[in-house]
């Protein structure tokens, strides 16, 4: 390993690394502009996979001591374009690259969302997310964030879903504007563009201003994470966009946002004692968002929308952790460390299981042509492998031990409960937050049970489900990898937690000792619990082996079971809807049809935020977007033109600030 210690070689390695990340992806982007053949599409996707594969090397290289910082030999009037990957970013980049790669592999194999344009945009999105996570100057951060928004906006095009896309576009830009103001102001205060030089700017600007800045940054990135009330675009876009776009949005883009929020709060601005007010506000908002997401996911009719709200809930929990950290950091630093680790770990875990589930849904939709969960069912009999893979994802999402989803929730509850806060007022937070986490957890579990149960179990509810097309070759591969990751990251969670500790320590400046492990209930519990579960189940299996078995038709009380005599997904959540009805409003409409005695019952759920906040807004926007859509030519060159124009606008805006 001697050679890596030589500075020159390290620098060379850095350049090679960045080159290897950017060149294939850039080449892919350029190719996509030039060609429109489907054969080229695979090549372009292959280039993206290459870039991702290189991206995975970020953490190992960083761990080996390669500095991974680079300034582009370009300079603009407002500053340099610098990249620097610190420890926590390298973890995020590596895992995000894995997820990105697997999603692109799935894109290639499933071919439901293919074409030069799509693959090219994937390359753009990868570059953008990489840049955003690696950014060391404000300019790179803002530009790449804008690129993420634009490329996902373009990636989301499928059929006629302009309404959902424009909603996303507008909301994301509200967030972008907030971010631009916040970072512009910070840059002005700091007097430098370089992010790594920003440290504790909160002390300079004063507590009130820094609280406003924290709020703006959280809300700004929160528009992508789906914080209330900015979550409204998510179900619409997830429901209508290509599933892989949704997967990328919910995993890689969320990772980027969480990472940047984390670094902004704890490093750039820095947490001071007087900031607990805003922490409380964010905790309240995050808890409300989590509950809202959990509740709404229960009534969704499309699997993708269920997962959209699940993302809302999961990301809200992460924000909750980050905000709790702001309170803990002054009271009990070791618990602050623990809760930040919990939050970051949950971000990583979320990206693993969520991408797995979205790929599953894509495969289901691809094989059956069915989008409505009310018409699904019985796939476990026809696509057993897919069912096995996705039950692991579902277990993970529902936080069932020994999967990774369990570990992060377990850590979260530990750090919420373990801390000993000085003031009684703050202590009151603990039971309330715990209650919110508890209710969300079980509601989401219910929602996931519904998701799995009504897609894979029971009897098929439509023809497409009865005889699905076989899965395309190789689509199972990325899902299997992710499923293994779900379990593996559960068993070996402590390894990842140790890695995250270093990052948390370096970003927040909390003393490395005492180790977070000193406050954990049992050092190696995830592994031990996993092993115990395995041993016990093997023991049970050995003692009570499966006995004789006879397959019969499901008992229908002496009559044949018709196709409608099966519990429905809407019925499944109806009791909960009734219990929590104030949040759902009146939902059932009975209509008498003209043939006398025949009746039709419709159950419709409209998200109240959409109905009362966005509908009036949206109507106005639709009118505008209809005018704008005339300028859409469906040609990628035109889109890139728009990207360019927006970028120039951004640059100008930054310049003015």
């Amino acid at each position: 390993m001697d050679i890596f210690n030589l500075t020159l070689q390290n620098e060379a390695l850095t350049v090679i690394f960045f080159a290897a990340v950017f060149i294939p992806a850039l080449a892919g982007t350029i190719l996509s502009l030039m060609f429109r053949y489907n054969k080229v599409a695979n090549l372009i996707a292959g280039l993206c996979i290459t870039s991702c594969a290189v991206g995975i090397a970020a953490y190992p290289l960083r761990a080996l001591g390669v500095p991974l910082s680079y300034t582009f030999p370009l300079s603009s009037a407002v500053g340099d374009y610098a990249l620097a990957i610190d420890q926590i970013s390298s973890v995020m980049i590596s895992l995000s690259s894995v997820i990105f790669m697997l999603i692109v592999v799935h894109v290639v194999k499933s071919s439901s969302d293919s074409g030069c344009r799509y693959s090219g945009l994937l390359n753009v999105l990868f570059i953008a997310s990489f840049l955003c996570m690696a950014a060391d100057s404000v300019l790179v951060l803002l530009i790449s964030w804008e690129m993420i928004t634009l490329s996902t906006f373009l990636l989301a095009k499928k059929g006629n879903n302009d309404r959902a896309r424009w909603m996303f576009f507008v909301i994301a830009h509200i967030g972008g504007l907030m971010l631009m103001c916040a970072y512009g102001y910070l840059a002005w205060v700091a007097g430098t563009q370089t992010l790594s030089d920003w440290n504790g700017l909160g002390a300079i600007v004063g507590s009130t201003t820094s609280m406003i800045l924290v709020l703006m940054i959280v809300m700004g990135f929160g528009t992508k994470l789906g914080l209330l009330p900015f979550h409204a675009w998510m179900p619409g876009l997830y429901g209508t966009a290509p599933t892989h776009t949704a997967a990328l949005l919910s995993t890689v883009c969320s990772n980027v946002a969480v990472l940047t929020i984390f670094k902004s709060i704890y490093s750039y601005i820095g947490v001071t004692e007087s900031m607990s007010v805003i922490a409380f506000a964010i905790i309240g908002l995050a808890a409300a968002t989590a509950l809202w997401g959990a509740m709404e996911s229960l009534v969704q009719k499309e699997p993708k929308k269920i997962l959209a709200y699940s993302s809302v809930e999961n990301m809200a929990l992460v924000i909750l952790c980050l905000a709790l950290g702001m309170i803990y950091i002054n009271e009990s630093p070791v618990f602050a460390k623990l809760i930040l680790i919990a939050g970051l770990l949950h971000t990583l875990n979320h990206s693993v299981f969520k991408s797995l589930m979205l790929m599953t849904i894509d495969t289901v939709e691809d094989c059956t042509g069915e989008k409505n969960i009310g018409r699904m069912g019985g796939l476990a009999k026809t696509l057993p492998l897919l069912a096995v893979v996705s039950i692991i994802g579902v277990f993970s999402m529902a936080a069932i031990p020994p999967t990774n989803g369990f570990v992060s929730e377990w850590l979260m509850i530990q750090s919420i409960m373990g801390v000993n806060l000085q003031s009684k007022g703050m202590s009151l937070l603990i039971p309330l937050v715990l209650a919110a986490v508890g209710i969300c957890g079980m509601m989401m579990a219910a929602s996931y049970a519904r998701l799995y149960g009504f897609i894979f179990l029971g009897r098929p509810r439509s023809d497409g489900m009865r005889e699905p097309r076989p899965m395309k070759n190789g689509t199972l591969l990325p899902m299997a990898v992710l499923a293994i990751l779900c379990v593996g990251m559960g068993f070996f969670a402590t390894v990842i937690m140790d890695v995250l500790t270093t990052g948390v320590v370096s970003v927040t400046g909390i003393a490395p000792s005492p180790s977070y492990r000193s406050v954990m209930s049992e050092e190696m519990l995830p592994l031990i619990l996993g092993v115990l579960i395995v041993i016990t189940s093997v023991a049970v299996l050995l003692v009570v082996r499966p006995g004789k078995e006879r397959e019969v038709r499901t008992w229908g009380c002496g009559e044949d079971l018709g196709k409608e005599m099966q519990y429905s997904s809407i019925g499944f959540s109806q009791p909960l809807v009734r219990v929590f009805h104030p949040f759902y409003g009146d939902t059932t409409v009975v209509r008498e049809t003209k043939e006398g005695s025949k009746k039709t019952v419709h159950t419709e759920f409209t998200e109240p935020f959409v109905r009362y906040l966005y509908m009036p807004l949206g109507n106005a926007i639709t009118a505008i977007s209809e005018k704008i859509s005339k300028t859409q030519t469906n040609r990628i060159q035109t889109y890139f033109g728009y990207v360019l124009i927006t970028l120039i606008a951004v640059l100008l805006a930054v310049r003015i600030l």
């Binding site: 429905s568 809407i570 109806q574 059932t588 009746k599 019952v601």
Partner: protein, 485 residues
């Protein structure tokens, strides 16, 4: 009991006739077709208070449906269509009355009936569709030991959006078996129509057989005792059953115990737990000795106290009161619209009781009050039952106190012609009617109160939640076997 008035009309005018009578306050109690070569006679029995009117109409193989004018006829016409193959034109809802059966013919026709094949007609789907609406099939084979019947719920979650009740699995062909020479043992068969209402069915049959014969006073009083004993054990069974279904086990066990005591007394005194074989045309089978009477008196009083105690258990436990109140409301309007009878009608505020309106046997000499409630929920039906037990106890005690020595049977001759027997069975107004020609029963019709009450349950359960259905069903306490004669 002889019908007060008979008119006949053209089959085209039948519906109009019935409608005219309806507007005059008459109410249909039975309707059936009696085969006669060629064609058949449609008989419609109407009642207004104590008067009974029969309208007859000759038809060939079809006639304009009465149901089009009078909805109450709908049920009867379904059966007429299936049993006699006479088509009511414009009926609109001719779903089958029997889904599983032997033979593909029309059993009540006089021609030979082939029972070789087993026919299973698929049960139609409920007429309600929509997002997330599913059907819950329950029965005909149930998890518990109850009679067969198919219930098809439509729901999208817990509230019931629609319920269709499909019965007919118990069809035994009793109406057909009743045909033949008039003999005393017809009551034997009648008692088996619905075993828990043996006395009521036996009495109704006996009333037909006896014609105008004078029944000895002692026999008439014993008949009342039997009928009221039957009412008590039926009501107790249902009240205890309500407790069982709501997992209120101690009260349920107590109710079952009280009922069991009574049944054992029945066995000792009358030789049958369910009082079978006691009603014979012309009187009763068994006389009561003084010892029997005193035993019966103390047993009945014990039951009266037991029922009070059971009622106390229920009323003093908020959890079960909460469960029973506001559940399964059958509003007064619906009870009238569906022409319900018996306990169910009385719990919905309708004052109808055959014992008071058309007194038979000794009821005319006895005093009792008519129990009603007006909420129409499960609790009301339960309360009506509990209070009726007390009334029955008082009736039995009155009979025992004024019992005079005398004969218990008399000779009689069954007159030819049409006659009907009306009895207030524990479930409500029970109607048997028979067309007797040359000493032979040509056509025997049985209309159990369950037959007219079943459809009303379809509205009573609406908007209740699925798990409350067993309670509602139990509170109606209807007979499957009586419905599917």
């Amino acid at each position: 009991m002889i019908v007060t008035d008979t008119t006949s009309c053209d089959s085209d005018l039948l519906a109009q006739y019935v409608k005219t009578y309806y507007s005059d306050g008459w109410r249909m109690i039975s309707m059936f077709a009696s085969e006669s070569y060629p064609g058949a006679t449609i008989n419609v029995l109407l009642r207004r208070g104590g008067e009974i009117m029969r309208i007859t109409s000759e038809v060939v193989d079809s006639y304009p449906a009465v149901a089009a004018q009078v909805p109450a006829a709908s049920l009867f016409e379904r059966v007429i269509y299936e049993m006699n193959d006479i088509h009511p034109d414009g009926h609109g809802n001719l779903i089958p009355a029997i889904y599983w059966r032997k033979g593909d013919g029309h059993p009540l026709q006089k021609r030979p009936y082939d029972t070789y094949n087993e026919i299973r007609i698929p049960i139609p789907n409920n007429p309600i569709r929509g997002t997330g609406v599913y059907e819950i099939p329950v029965g005909p084979v149930h998890a518990g030991v109850i009679e067969p019947g198919h219930f098809r719920f439509s729901a999208a979650g817990e509230p019931i959006l629609h319920l269709s009740i499909h019965l007919g699995y118990n069809h035994k062909g009793i109406e057909k078996m009743m045909e033949g020479p008039v003999s005393k043992n017809r009551t034997y068969l009648a008692e088996r129509i619905s075993g828990d209402n043996a006395v009521a069915h036996g009495l109704a049959c006996a009333h037909i057989m006896e014609g105008e014969a004078e029944i000895p006073d002692r026999a008439r009083r014993i008949r009342v005792i039997l009928a009221e004993l039957e009412r008590i054990h039926n009501h107790l069974d249902i009240v205890a059953g309500l407790c069982t279904d709501s997992a209120f086990v101690v009260a349920a066990a107590y109710g079952a115990e009280v009922r069991e005591e009574l049944l054992r007394t029945n066995r000792r005194i009358f030789g049958s737990r369910l009082l079978m074989g006691n009603i014979v045309p012309g009187g009763v089978k068994r006389d009561l000795s003084d010892g029997d009477m005193s035993e019966l008196e103390s047993a009945v009083m014990k039951v009266g106290f037991g029922a009070k105690k059971l009622d106390g258990y229920i009323r003093k436990t908020p959890s079960i009161v909460d469960r029973l109140e506001t559940t399964g409301i059958l509003s007064n309007e619906n009870a009238l619209r569906y022409e319900t009878v018996g306990v169910i009608a009385r719990a919905s505020g309708i004052r109808s009781d055959v014992r008071a309106e058309v007194p038979y046997d000794a009821y005319g000499d006895l005093s009792f009050s008519l129990i009603t409630r007006d909420k129409g929920d499960v609790m009301s039906r339960c309360a009506v039952r509990v209070d009726e037990i007390a009334e029955s106890v008082s009736l039995i005690l009155q009979c025992l106190a004024e019992m005079e020595e005398g004969e218990i049977r008399t000779d009689f001759k069954t007159p030819d012609g049409f006659s009907c027997g009306l009895v207030e069975s524990p479930r409500g107004e029970l109607v048997h009617s028979a067309d007797i020609r040359d000493g032979r029963i040509w056509r025997y019709n049985i209309r159990d109160p369950s037959f007219v009450n079943w459809p009303s349950m379809e509205t009573a359960v609406m908007d209740n939640i699925v798990p409350d259905f067993p309670l509602i069903n139990k509170s109606f306490g209807l007979s499957y076997s009586g419905n599917d004669v």
